[in-house]
């Protein structure tokens, strides 16, 4: 395996505050990598820089060895890297099915493929409803399906489990594992549901105050003192 996504010395500040502060990490091709850390650690800002929604002040991001940190989001998506949002962005006045179909890079069979993906997250029966009528958790799932529809090689998921019911979480874990197995998609996932992170991830990266403070296998990270202090709290040791 080689690094498919590399982030080196990434810096992004807001009003002088360093949200991402010289973050360096890499994600191996075909792996599932968990990205954890306290609220405000810079995880979502890092996602925004990698996916082109924010421009970093310094540092570089490479996808398959090519620099992408000065490209627009749609060009990064075309290069194969797609992300989801913590607060999902859906087209409220279009139907659920249309929301997914418009994400298809090629129009052929788009609706049929969209319908199939919606079944996976139990949204099939809502295909013809306006996306604006979905609940918060359902919009989250719709956002995930839209990202899958693009057919990414690298998928960044920002808190895919937040607001999703426990039952569906178990199913989503299976889907995500299948996306990696079947389609060979590389996944980088920000998530606070530790049970999910520890089960799904080959490797876990921990951020705090804009920096990477630890990385390793789930077991290594779980018992790392710095991680317990900064993130888990003694009760989750």
């Amino acid at each position: 395996m080689s690094a498919q996504l590399e982030v080196q010395g990434l810096v992004r500040t807001f009003d002088g505050v360093r949200a991402v502060d010289e973050a360096t990490l890499d994600v191996q091709a075909g792996s599932i990598t968990g990205l954890i850390g306290p609220n405000g650690a810079g995880k979502s800002t890092l996602f925004n820089c990698v996916s082109g929604f924010l421009r970093p002040q310094s540092g570089r991001v490479t996808l398959d060895g090519k620099r992408i940190d000065r490209r627009a989001p749609h060009r990064i998506a075309r290069a194969g890297l797609v992300r989801t949002f913590q607060t999902p962005r859906t087209l409220a006045r279009m139907t659920v099915l249309e929301n997914v179909a418009v994400a298809a890079p090629r129009p052929r069979n788009a609706e049929a493929r969209a319908a199939k993906l919606l079944e996976l997250v139990r949204l099939g029966e809502h295909a013809d409803a306006l996306a604006g009528t979905l609940s918060g958790g359902q919009r989250k799932l719709l956002d995930l399906v839209r990202a899958l529809m693009v057919g990414p090689r690298v998928l960044l998921l920002d808190e895919p489990m937040a607001g999703v019911s426990p039952t569906l979480r178990v199913e989503l874990l299976d889907h995500i594992l299948a996306v990696r197995e079947r389609d060979g998609v590389t996944l980088l996932i920000v998530e606070h549901d530790l049970d999910f992170v520890m089960r799904a991830s080959d490797r876990v990266i921990v951020m705090n105050e804009g920096r990477v403070i630890a990385q390793g296998t789930p077991d290594q990270v779980r018992t790392d003192e710095r991680v317990v202090d900064a993130y888990l709290g003694a009760r989750h040791e």
């Binding site: 306290p38 604006g132 009528t133 609940s135 426990p166 039952t167 979480r169 888990l232 009760r235």
Partner: protein, 257 residues
């Protein structure tokens, strides 16, 4: 008579009916957890009780009075308040300003003392009073949102996913604070997808499914029930062993409606 009595509530958005007859009651001093699949109507139920969604049927009684369809600001003055999942603070205002705005429902002479009490209950409000709420981390923001609701002197709080998006440590902080608030004699109804944690904390729980009541019972009983675990908790039943769990007091009853 319960503090809050919700009877056969029907509500929705545009032509989509989300609640198809939901009932629930909450006693003063009680923590009640509401769980269920995505799209079951949990958040809509809270919004319907708090006057944010148009009702098609059913009734809401608070403290013995009919408050069905009453405006949110009037409900707040009566002691019923709601904390949404997101957009629950003014991001461009400082923490002090956020509290001042929330305290406007109190009589003028009582505002200062009310805000002072919140500085004691939520130390972050005092420590970072000049900081804009938009620059807070997720966990801190939830605490400020709770403080904004608490300053109105509620007897009952409706909370939409208080733990969503929080790190494990921040989640502990928020749940501990809810226990502390409840110990002050304030009732809590919380919708939660971290269902096990919520049920462990709650005196009683309701499961909603497709806009209807499915199952209700004590938090401990729901946690221990195999059917609930398989259908709604994503796994096998567990015996509640959390330090926060309550002892089972009332039996569980499947709702036959």
């Amino acid at each position: 008579m319960s503090l809050l009595e919700v009877e056969a509530l029907e509500a929705g958005y545009d032509d989509a009916l989300v609640l198809r007859g939901v009932s629930l009651c909450v006693d003063a001093h009680e923590i009640v957890a509401v769980i269920g699949p995505n799209g079951a109507g949990k958040s809509t139920m809270l919004k319907a009780v708090y006057g944010l969604v148009t009702l098609h049927g059913g009734s809401v009684r608070f403290d013995g009075e009919n408050v069905t369809g009453m405006r949110p600001d009037r409900l707040t003055r009566r002691g019923l308040n709601f904390v949404p999942q997101t957009d629950n603070v003014f991001p461009t205002l400082t923490l002090a300003e956020n509290l001042h705005v929330a305290a406007l429902v109190l009589p003028k002479s009582e505002r200062r003392a009310g805000i002072q009490r919140m500085r004691e209950l939520f130390p972050i409000v005092a420590e970072r009073r000049r900081q804009r709420a938009g620059t807070l981390s997720g966990g801190q923001r939830k605490l400020v949102a709770l403080a904004r609701a608490m300053v109105t002197r509620p007897r009952l709080l409706l909370l939409d996913e208080p733990s969503a998006g929080l790190s494990p440590q921040a989640m502990d902080l928020v749940f501990d604070k809810l226990v502390e608030i409840n110990a002050l004699g304030i009732g809590i109804v919380m919708v939660e997808q971290n269902a096990r944690r919520a049920l462990a904390l709650a005196h009683r729980g309701y499961v909603l499914d497709t806009g209807r009541n499915a199952i209700e019972g004590s938090g401990a009983d729901l946690l221990a029930d195999r059917q609930v675990a398989e259908l709604y908790l994503g796994g096998s039943a567990t015996i509640a062993s959390s330090s926060n769990s309550r002892s089972a007091s009332s039996g569980m009853k499947p709702d036959t409606k």
